[in-house]
Amino acid sequence: MNKLFLICFFMLISTMSWAQDKVEMADVMRSNGKIYTVVAVCLTILTGLFVYVFLIDRKISKLEKENQK
């Protein structure tokens, strides 16, 4: 049963890679010299930075509240 599953799995993978070789689908991330990928990467970094700063902000607010008591 396991072997059968593995065989099916690898066959699926091979068909997927074959499809990638030949067919070009509408893919935003690969158009225009893949500039959208750069935009996505930069946005991820920016979002990460802001989430980090926001978490520090919240931590300090909490400490300030405790300090006032």
């Binding site: 500039i35 750069v38 700063v53 300090i60």
Partner: protein, 232 residues
Amino acid sequence: MKKSWWKILSFVLLVYTIVAGFLLDVPHLPILNETIRNLYFHVCMWFGMTILFGTSFYYSIKYLRGFNYRNDIYALNYAAVGCLFGILGYATGFEWVNVTWITDQGQSVGSVLKEPKLIGAAIALLIYGAYFVLRGSFTDIDKRARISAVYNIFAFAMLFPSIWIIPRIVGSLHPGAPGSDSGNPALDRKDLDATMRMVFYPAIIGWTLLGVWIATLKIRIQLMKDKNIINE
């Protein structure tokens, strides 16, 4: 959360900066090519730095008017984040120089090192570096606050000749010097492309607000630490 609208604004503006900054069309210029988009990042660092140093300068004067220790903490932390922006501006400028002046314009490394704008920016940052050294050398809090406030006013006064004025008088490769165009090309409405202006101004605001946010975090930590010293 009521007072944090400007933090959200900063995030929105920076998302806009990256999306519009990478995807909108820019003028097609030789040597610069796509690197003209660095205007939204490299130049904004220097604008943000100037605004943060200006805020620090404002609080130093405020300190000297009433000797409230709180204003000294404000001045210190705005100057610290301003320095961070300056260092980032210097580093990004160096990356930009590498592919435009050195590789594509054929300038030698020697002539780039003699570049007045680079030397001026280094001097300005070192003057601010001395501000932190000066602060660290005092044990008395009041003396430290007073002398460093006076020094901070001097440092801000030196920022203008070393970064903005001298490089424009003696001539340099950097835009905004005699030989290229006079004045500040980024602020000249006739020089900067209309589409680029649409991204550039929000970018300045976004980056500056991010700097102010980080500075306020540092200030709040120090205010908590020095709660006993501050007399309200």
